[in-house]
Amino acid sequence: MGKIGIIANPASGKDIRRLVAHGSVFDNNEKVNIVKRMLSVFEEIGIDEVLFMPDYFQICLKALNALGRVSFKARVIDMDVSFTQDDSTKAASIFEREKVDCLITLGGDGTNRVVAKGLSPNSEVPLLPISTGTNNVFPYMMEGTIAALAAAALAKGVVSKDEGCYRVKRVELFKDGELKDIALIDLVSLDCSFIGSRAIWHPEEIREVFSTVAKPDSIGVSSIGGLLMPTDELDDRGVYVRLGRSGKRLFAPIVPGIIREIYVEDFREIPLDEKFPISLDRGVIALDGEREIDFFDGKWEIQVTRRGPLLVDVRKVLRLSSERGFLKI
């Protein structure tokens, strides 16, 4: 028994952060290797079916072909491919329809954000994100083999979703009252003009940060809130921080390798389900660390909700499954 979906984003982890922030080089062949390791686990444990998102590099197919004969059913899901991040969104909704027991993603915060967009707000698909880079908060920095074990334990019913998963928060972005986009970790308004190369590495452009979690041990802008009002996944609140040219002085790890002095003009709790305005009237909005939207007009608001995906707690799943004799011969 058990059905697992895999979304391996071939475009993650190659942006300008490699240049400005010593970002790691995580090439697609390495993603192929991770998928190989995961598929080997599924073969060994005995999963029924593994579904893949199609991608131009054919990460999953390359992994599958390298393994040769496998006893599980393997299938690339049928979808139109645009070779953009929309593919991950589309694939996520197909996996939800296919009722996979676990959806594994290989990518960064950006990949998981677009995957979450494809899932319905109360989706019951357990999401198990594996980081393929250095600049991530949401996905786990974890060996694929271990992640695959947790996915298998869920898929085989050794641990139930209720026991092994919890629902995460998200930031919802509204324009004139209409939902436009979401972020899983943080939404940042920037006083700049262009989306350009997408990453954020000039702290002087950051105006406001709205984050679902704020941890001093995170990388990126959400860490600023972590220094002021530490907030984790289970806390029922978000954190708002406004930066400026004066105020409380802090050092924060904006991107890997870059600790910058910043001035915090204001910070406060964001209660769940309450709308907050974005104070800039034109600028750029970054979602989970990437500049995504440039805006010139309209009323922009955010709200933090607990409508994010169901996240697999890998440690808990593996602890419970080991207590229950999973993997014992």
């Binding site: 942006d15 300008i16 080089v25 090439d27 131009y56 190369s197």
Partner: protein
């Protein structure tokens, strides 16, 4: 505001490349331009984004598809067009043609008819800057196809061990004539190859002039500060064939149409309109200004004399 002027100049430069290239295509079809022509249409954001991040004294090496690079680095349309016509007044006195235009005074170390040949030359220009301590950076335009050549390996290796001030900018337009990149290499991103040389390698949207500009600016700053080379891969597409007359049996018309929807000039134009930097009147003004420049270049080329045959014997040696 300084930045607005920069953006406007970038826009104008892209339009200048497009209009020049459209005219070249037309003149080539009319038989007025001899030889080969490789059109840069569709890739304007790469040349302009990159050259806008350079100082006038910085160097570039260009490619067979080089008109855009030369214009973005400040090349004069008149002398370029005259060279394409094979006239005495051209940049190379009619000895080079489309694939060999150079202007060392503008830091243009030449287009190049040999794919991948610019890489070691740019490395040498960077070595020269380093030895002369003159702070200049060399930027090397090359293609996805060129990244399979040995010059790529030797140059990136040499530049990285000596931390030379050079930026390797790969214009990945996905085809080496008919060879799709996916068949020609086992990695999807040429930028990943940087890891083999211990240097940063980044991918940018080559149809977004600002994305190219930001990345090159960072790489140039790093190079000038002694941080060494960077490999930047700008993903883009040429709208026309490898050469004028290429039947393009290796790709579908739909593929080209899809890329036209991502036109780098239209994208930037829409953005500048939203920002209030451009409006319809201003766009018309720019277009007619460029049209005049191009017409003037054509007139200059057509009215210029051919070189005397005996001039073929000059300039072999200094």
């Amino acid at each position: 505001m300084g930045e607005e002027k920069l953006w406007l100049d970038m826009y104008i430069s892209m339009v200048r490349i497009r209009k020049f290239e459209e005219k070249v295509v037309e003149l080539f079809a009319q038989g007025k331009i001899p030889g080969f022509v490789h059109s840069y249409i569709g890739e304007e954001a790469v040349a302009v984004g990159a050259c806008s991040a350079l100082e006038p004294t910085d160097y570039i090496t260009s490619t067979h598809r080089g008109h855009g690079h030369l214009i973005a680095k400040g090349g004069d349309l008149k002398y370029m067009m005259a060279e394409l016509y094979g006239k005495k007044t051209g940049y190379c006195k009619g000895k080079g043609g489309s694939m060999h235009i150079a202007d060392v005074d503008l830091g243009i170390l030449g287009a190049n008819g040999i794919v991948g040949a610019g890489l070691p030359i740019a490395t040498g220009a960077a070595l020269s800057s380093y030895l002369q301590r003159n702070g200049r950076v060399a930027l090397c335009f090359f293609s996805d196809g060129a990244s399979n050549r040995g010059t790529f390996h030797e140059s990136l290796n040499m530049a990285s061990i000596w931390k030379l001030p050079v930026v390797f900018l790969c214009e990945n337009n996905m085809y080496g004539i008919s060879m799709p990149q996916r068949k020609g290499m086992a990695v999807e991103d040429i930028a990943d190859r940087a890891a083999a040389y211990g240097i940063p390698g980044v991918v940018v949207d080559g149809n977004d002039v600002i994305a190219v500009y930001e990345a090159v600016k960072e790489a140039v700053t790093r190079a000038r500060a002694g941080g060494g080379p960077t490999l930047i891969e700008a993903k883009t597409a040429r709208w026309r064939g490898h050469f004028e007359g290429d039947p393009q049996i290796y790709r579908t018309p739909e593929e080209i149409e899809d890329w036209k929807k991502k036109c780098p000039i239209m994208r930037f134009q829409e953005k500048l309109i939203k920002m209030g930097i451009l409006d319809e009147a201003k766009i018309r003004e720019i277009e007619s200004m460029i049209a005049r420049e191009v017409e003037e270049a054509v007139r200059f080329a057509e009215e210029s004399p051919y070189p005397e045959p005996e001039e073929a014997l000059e300039d072999v040696y200094a």
